[in-house]
């Protein structure tokens, strides 16, 4: 419903860019405060060990050192897990912010050194002597649950923190009716999120005011403030968390880590500003990793391709401790999406949350949904192959069709979608038939092209409190809030609890508000990422900003307009019920010439005289919006790859995306979100892997060893949008932040297997590196 007058749907370029392209952004590591000291953390080189002693004396006497900390010098604050899944037993190991007795992963913090500059702090840190007694190590989930495996925590038998089930339909009947069953063990490998800005925290405790200020690379500063307040007793009124320009997050900056707690404690102790900024190698050893599932899956079909049932048993590697949202990821963000876009009659899903001597695993772009999508879409292709049905056709046979909203076997209620229409458009625009021909011709010339498709679905707009807080076990609701403040001159400041770390809310939220308030876009400013300015907020993850945070802005605007009607009625000497609001103007019904602009109303609201007694001065409104359902973006992604059988090298040639993210507010930004997600998904499919050796040492410990894709490794992409508006919010939006990372991995993997199918290869685990592909081709 874009018109020449509305901002909704316009590909506006971003207003945050001028500062970022001229080097004037303000990231946490750019914060400079007078007298600021640097913190360096000493981390365990062992994946599992008892700490016998720590000798800091040489470090303390190192010139320039301000103070050295070990656990004995600091409060025993735990790093919390924020999720307790109802109805199951969840064993949560105690995670001290600084280890004193035992370390459970390589990278765990054992000491901190503070000095005037980082070089001095590092030099001194090298003089700290820690005596360790190494213990048995487990890094692999299947080995971890085996009889006799070393225990990561003595109180967690078999290293199983929790077991979770989700079932629906009659799974036994489904499998007894089955004519074809495909089975596969699938590894969804461990990934490192790699936001280009690593984490950093600056802390300053002002003794005069008693106020603690933290600048934190974070996606949800209010959640961080809340957790730190609860853990330390610092009242929220005296704790301000600022997440300024943040250089990407992808989930990894949602969480409360040991470092935020330690910087808070050290700043309170030293009474001077302190900064910690991690190096990339440190980031790999301390910032939450993603994925890491081993899954045994079976999919049952009728001979005609009709899907009957899905059995899934997943071992999810949680790492050494349960991070903030960790238990949600392999359970409610994974199992509940296992119906995909298909009419699945029966599901049985069993998930084991397993602790190992590795960096904790938590949400990474898509968080559970990429794992579900990869599993379903690989099995659909295996089924198609087994049944001799074209991959597009087997999907068409099984799509959910007809009326929405539709409850599926997982219990989720899909809001809206046209999965078959989406596939059909994708096949046509991508020229699937044409590519099949080209593939055949290439084969005659000895070239191995592969065509892969994946039809993903995800649950976004992560709220509704009723489900997330209670059924899922988040323990807290996930609404979003906003405040719209009109200034007397008619300029507007909007405070949002959503957070932008690349998504461009300063632009898109202003677009949205310009339409709703009828105020020029230029007159609206968006403020986010500062608990000292923004009332409260749940932050940005789960592709929730527009669907939840954006809707909150619409709701605040509605409240404001209601008040504006009463002010206008007073100014126009009319009855409030007779006032209409349109395009920024309040007018008397039937007399459009009797009107006041919203700017005039704002001024009147701040300089009131002769106001009726029941009318309060001021022009500001706040809302807390909690949707009733998730949104369910879905789409069809298609890939063409070429495999070189001599080297095993896979070259992605073409990538096509057809996304249904509902209505699109800013196509330029939506497209950019898809591009970035796809690159991360291709990274998972072909390049990226966080590898531990059997001693728990991270072998892919630097950017030299962990393959973040380069420009030359990513193909050009075509994006398309065919949205079915979501009924879950008034704008009909669904979310687009994670789609790319969810649909692209299976599309690429399916394309590679398609290229190799004539060699009898049905599956290779991710990432599809030249070595793995070559070994599969050559039967090694």
């Amino acid at each position: 419903m874009t018109t020449s007058e509305t901002m909704f749907g316009r590909a506006l370029k971003r207003r945050e860019d001028p500062r970022l392209i001229t080097g004037r952004g303000q990231y946490v590591d750019d914060v400079r405060l007078p007298g600021m000291q640097r913190v360096f953390f000493v981390r365990s080189p062992y994946a599992h060990a008892k700490i016998l002693s720590i000798d800091t004396s040489a470090a303390e006497s190192h010139p320039g050192v301000v103070k050295v900390y070990t656990a004995k010098d600091l409060p025993a604050t735990p790093v919390p897990c924020g999720v307790t899944i109802p109805g199951i037993e969840q064993k949560v190991p105690n995670y001290p912010m600084i280890a004193s007795e035992r370390v459970c992963y390589a990278g765990q913090i054992v000491a901190a050194v503070v000095a005037g500059d980082l070089g001095t702090a590092r030099d001194a840190a090298e003089k700290i002597q820690v005596e360790y007694e190494p213990l048995g190590v487990v890094v692999d989930v299947e080995q971890a649950v085996a009889e006799g495996a070393p225990l990561v925590h003595d109180e967690i038998p078999n290293n199983i923190s929790f077991k979770w089930n989700l079932s629906g339909g009659d799974i036994n009947a489904a499998f007894s009716e089955a004519e074809v069953v495909v089975k596969q063990r699938l590894v969804n490998q461990r990934l490192i999120p790699n936001a280009m800005e690593a984490r950093a925290v600056v802390g300053y405790f002002n003794q005069g005011t008693g106020e603690m200020t933290l600048w934190d690379t974070n996606q949800n500063p209010h959640i961080i403030r809340l957790l730190i307040s609860m853990l330390t007793g610092l009242p929220e009124s005296k704790l301000r968390v600022i997440a300024p320009d943040v250089g990407g997050g992808f989930g990894s900056k949602i969480f409360l880590y040991a470092e935020q707690l330690l910087v808070t404690a050290i700043a309170q102790d030293l009474l001077v500003p302190v900064k910690w900024a991690e190096s990339r190698s440190e980031n790999y050893l301390s910032t939450a990793h993603g994925r890491d599932h081993v899954t045994y899956a079976e999919m049952a079909f009728k001979r005609d391709g009709k899907l009957l049932g899905l059995k899934v048993k997943t071992y999810a590697n949680m790492g050494a401790y349960l991070s903030t949202f960790a238990p949600l990821i392999p359970t409610n963000l994974y199992g509940t999406l296992l119906s995909g876009v298909y009419d699945l009659p029966a599901l049985d899903c069993e998930v084991y949350g397993v602790v190992t001597n590795t960096v904790p695993v938590d949400a990474y772009r898509g968080a559970g949904r990429p794992e579900a999508s990869y599993l379903i879409e690989r099995l659909m292709d295996l089924g198609a192959d087994e049944l001799g049905i074209d991959p597009a056709e087997i999907r068409r046979i099984n799509f959910i069709k007809g009326e929405f909203p539709r409850q599926v076997v997982t219990g989720m209620t899909y809001d809206s979608g046209d999965y078959e229409g989406n596939l059909n458009k994708a096949l046509e625009r991508f020229d699937y038939a044409g590519w099949r021909q080209k593939q055949e011709e290439a084969r005659k010339n000895g070239r191995y092209l592969g065509i892969g498709l994946a039809c993903y679905i995800e649950a976004c707009g992560i709220a509704p409190s009723k489900i997330v807080g209670t059924v899922w076990g988040g323990g807290v609701g996930l609404w979003e809030s906003s405040t719209i403040r009109f200034h007397p001159t008619g300029k507007v400041t909007i405070y949002t609890g959503s957070h932008s770390h690349g998504q461009g809310h300063e632009t898109t939220f202003a677009q949205l508000a310009a339409d709703t308030l009828g105020v020029p876009y230029e007159n609206i400013e968006i403020v986010h990422g500062d608990t000292g300015q923004v009332q409260f907020g749940m932050g940005t993850y789960g592709s929730r900003s527009l669907a939840v945070g954006g809707t909150s802005i619409v709701k605040s605007a509605e409240k404001l307009i209601e008040k504006g009607k009463r002010i206008a009625a007073h100014l126009l000497e009319a009855n409030p019920d007779d006032i209409e609001f349109k395009s920024g103007s309040f007018s008397v019904r039937g007399s459009p010439d009797r009107s006041k602009s919203i700017g005039e109303v704002a001024l009147a609201a701040y300089v009131p005289h002769n106001y009726p007694e029941d009318l309060e001065p001021g022009f500001e409104a706040q809302s807390f919006y909690d949707p009733t359902n998730f949104t369910f973006p879905a789409g069809t992604y298609m890939a063409v790859v070429e495999v070189d059988p001599e080297t095993g090298n896979v070259t992605p040639l073409e990538f096509y995306c057809m996304d249904d993210c509902g209505r699109v507010l800013n196509p330029l930004i939506a497209e950019g979100q898809v591009h970035g997600g796809v690159a991360q998904g291709i990274g998972q499919a072909l390049y990226e892997y966080a590898v531990y050796d059997e001693n728990g040492q991270l072998l892919s410990g630097t950017m030299m060893d962990y393959a973040v894709p380069k420009a030359s490794q990513i193909p050009s992409m075509t994006t398309d949008f065919a949205g079915v508006p979501s009924p879950s919010n008034p704008m009909g939006v669904k979310g687009i932040g994670e789609a790319g990372a969810i649909g692209s991995t299976p599309a690429i993997a399916n394309a590679v297997m398609d290229a190799l199918s004539s060699m009898g290869i049905r599956h290779i685990d991710l990432p599809l590196t030249p070595e793995r592909v070559w070994k599969a081709i050559h039967g090694k």
Binding site: D17, N194, A195, G672, M704, A711
Partner: protein
Amino acid sequence: MTTITVTVNGKQYTSDVEPRTLLVHYLREHLNLTGTHVGCDTSQCGACTVHMNGASVKSCTVLAVQADGAEITTIEGLAQNGQLHPLQEGFWEKHGLQCGFCTPGMIMAAADLLKQNPNPTEEEIRHGLEGNLCRCTGYENIVRAVRYAAEKMAAVPAD
């Protein structure tokens, strides 16, 4: 401490630095030019790319003392007389950035690429920027931004 004299964005500075100080830390910590970023510790990411005597370098791989006597241009010095460089304009027009963290280095590397190859193909751009990582954009719009700048610079020859 060693004394160095460096011209950065047209302004001359004389500073005492520890010999082990990296150029990027000198720019950020001593000169407060925080537009140049540090994204890794192994010279992979290119977020710290600046120009030294007209050529792009990763300033995490150059010691400050090696820059003694050199002319350095950072992202803060790229716009001239309040006019954005065509690459800055291209990144803005084509949505070539999201979080913006890699952007200064990416723009500085692309400027050097265009100097050496004023009319690069998509493939040449992708290979030319291999030393710079971006996690947000999937590079698609970065390629478009560099093409935009190449076309703009071709239309208005530099004087």
